[in-house]
């Protein structure tokens, strides 16, 4: 047995995660070729590195198949119902910052707040005969946010990528998506609503609450967390 650590399998998120662990004396690296999704851990014994898609890490944590995992809290909160019961956020890692925001065309000068969006949605439905469409891949977070804020007469449409383009393409009237600088939004003639911040997210180290663990591994996990200075 070993303590299983799930880390995003590619890109900047992987590199930054490796760097974050490296700064704390734990060296993570890919095993073998660039294409192989297995990893190596140096600096501590009994820890196994598993490279996964960042989007799958929440599910693997909830299922208890990994003990620790690095992913964005946006993904954890979107994918896990009652996320707090399944995972514990051990440490924000200071990178991968992104905000989930609600954005509308910049030319909608009459819409600055959720209150405006709600009124515009009611009028839109009367004119067009269907509800104002919001493109997103964060269905649960967006729906909960809009329900809590009493916005009605909208419909969510699924968009798994290039969400900023859906308005110009006329498959949606507004979007809810992750943004870090807002450049992509501006380039696509979109603006964030003043009260349209749904969630602040960053890469976070999570611990699975329900993963099975033996006594030996429990000691290794404690040692790892203490080396990472997060316990």
């Amino acid at each position: 047995m070993s303590v299983k650590l799930g880390v995003p399998s590619k890109g900047r998120l992987m590199e930054k995660t490796f760097q974050w662990f490296g700064e704390r004396g734990i060296t993570l690296s890919r095993a073998g070729s660039e294409r192989e999704y297995a990893g190596q851990v140096a600096g501590i014994d009994g820890v196994e590195l598993i490279l996964l898609s960042a989007g799958e890490i929440p599910r693997e944590l909830a299922a208890g198949r990994i003990h620790l995992g690095v992913t964005g809290n946006d993904l954890v909160q979107e994918k896990l119902v009652g996320w707090n019961a399944h995972v514990e956020a051990m440490a924000p890692m200071g990178f991968g910052q992104a905000d989930l925001v609600l954005a509308v065309p910049s030319a909608w000068v009459d819409v600055g707040t959720l209150d405006d969006l709600d009124a515009a949605a009611a009028a839109f439905r009367q004119v067009h005969g269907f509800r104002l469409r919001i493109a997103t891949k964060y269905h649960r977070l967006v729906r909960e946010f809009l329900r809590d804020n009493g916005v009605a007469d909208y419909a969510l449409v699924d968009s798994q990528g290039a969400t900023e383009g859906t308005v110009k393409f006329e498959t949606a009237e507004a979007i809810a998506d992750i943004t870090s600088s807002g450049d992509t939004l501006r380039a696509n003639h979109l603006k964030v609503l003043e009260d349209g911040l749904i969630l602040r997210s960053q890469a976070t180290l999570f611990r699975a609450r329900q993963a099975e663990i033996g006594d030996a591994d429990r000691a290794i996990l404690a040692e790892l967390l203490s080396r990472l200075q997060v316990s």
């Binding site: 030319a107 009459d110 009028a123 509800r131 969510l156």
Partner: protein, 361 residues
């Protein structure tokens, strides 16, 4: 929870009681077209109902309640007046509370009748009351029609009233609108800046998407009109608050509402309706002096109930959902009837809960 076979037997027993009261048993499909439900309840229904698709029929939902298909059935080929009963499973996704059932049986009784709605309200309530009497449940009642009438009677623009009516089942947004229309909440900065501009579209940049310039212009015109309208007076806001605060036994509630109606005559007809209903309930043997009434009862979960509403709960089991709920849903028949409508009132019992509580006693 009791065995499923026992719950099915209890459902059959309850449905037979509703048949004895004059209802015709009906069945509805489990798969319901998602479009109808989404149109009625909006995106929120996706959080509560199971959605599935097939290539021919498109998006379908597992029946989250019986009311919608029964109203559709009645509007399509029902004779009047009509009484229906049904028993069957409903399906509810649970995103927040894993303890709540995601499928359970409901047994219901629905009355479609044009004459004497007070009597029909009383008939449905008293029938369910009699059936559940051995369980010693607490009955609560309310009437959304009174708040609706109060909104309609406000001395303000039709547009503001329409906005308030639209959010009558969303208390938080309703309150935010009241605060804004009465001048209690400050005008948002972006709104003030917009209203100060001569030609707001001048700097707007390229317009993308389906919502076009005429729609933006129409909303700006509406905002300008609204900015000129006088605020809803403190006195009227006070009356709305007073209505929402009514939480009494029925006869005391009636007295309070009569007092409020002196200053807000627009609710008089709705209060008369409450009085007529209490009389009809008394005629059915209900002790109205002890019956609880809350003017805001059912406002958060019972969208489309637009008059009398009620629920029966086990007081010593606050963890359980209501054993029975119901109310009047004239607005729903209007929405589904495509130009036609019929006054309707109904209620449903959850046989599983009724049985579990019965066994516990």
């Amino acid at each position: 929870m009791p065995e499923k076979s026992a719950i099915i037997a209890e459902a059959a027993r309850l449905r037979a009681l509703f048949e004895q009261a004059g209802a015709v048993p009906v069945e509805t499909a489990i798969l319901q077209p998602a479009a109808t439900l989404l149109d009625l309840y909006g995106e929120d229904i996706r959080a509560r109902a199971y959605t599935t698709t097939d290539a021919l029929k498109g998006e379908q939902m597992l029946r989250p309640d019986f009311t919608v298909p029964i109203v559709e059935m009645h509007m399509a080929h029902g004779a009047e007046p009509a009484r229906y009963t049904y028993a069957g499973e409903v399906f509810r996704r649970q995103e927040d509370d894993p303890e709540r059932a995601s499928e359970y049986l409901q047994v219901g009784y629905e009355v479609f009748a044009r004459d004497d709605s007070a009597r029909a309200d009383a008939e449905v309530f008293a029938l369910i009351h009699r059936i559940l009497e051995p369980l010693g449940l607490r009955a609560a009642t309310g009437d959304i029609g009174i708040l609706m009438a109060a909104v309609n009677g406000l001395r303000t623009t039709e547009r503001r009233k329409a906005a308030l009516r639209r959010h009558i089942w969303r208390p938080r947004r309703f309150r935010a609108l009241i605060d804004r229309f009465s001048g209690r909440a400050p005008v948002p900065e972006s709104r003030a800046a917009l209203l100060a501009m001569d030609d707001p579209m001048a700097q707007a940049g390229p317009l993308i998407g389906l919502r076009d310039e005429s729609e933006i212009a129409a909303r700006i015109a509406a905002l300008r009109e609204d900015a000129k309208a006088a605020p809803i007076s403190d006195a009227e806001v006070g009356l709305i608050d007073a209505i929402l605060a009514v939480r009494e036994t029925s006869l005391d509630a009636l007295k309070q509402l009569r007092d409020i109606a002196k200053d807000l005559p627009a609710i008089s007809a709705a209060v008369d309706q409450l009085a007529a209903r209490l009389e009809a309930l008394e005629g059915q043997g209900i002790d109205v002096a002890a019956l609880h009434f809350e003017a805001s009862y059912g406002r958060t979960q019972m969208e489309y109930y637009d008059g009398f509403v009620f629920g029966f709960t086990a007081e010593d089991r606050p963890d359980l959902p209501p054993v029975a709920t119901g109310g009047r849903y004239d607005a729903l028949t209007r929405r589904l009837g495509q130009g036609r409508e019929i006054p309707a009132v109904g209620g449903m019992i959850r046989p599983g809960l009724a049985l579990a509580l019965g066994e516990a006693r």
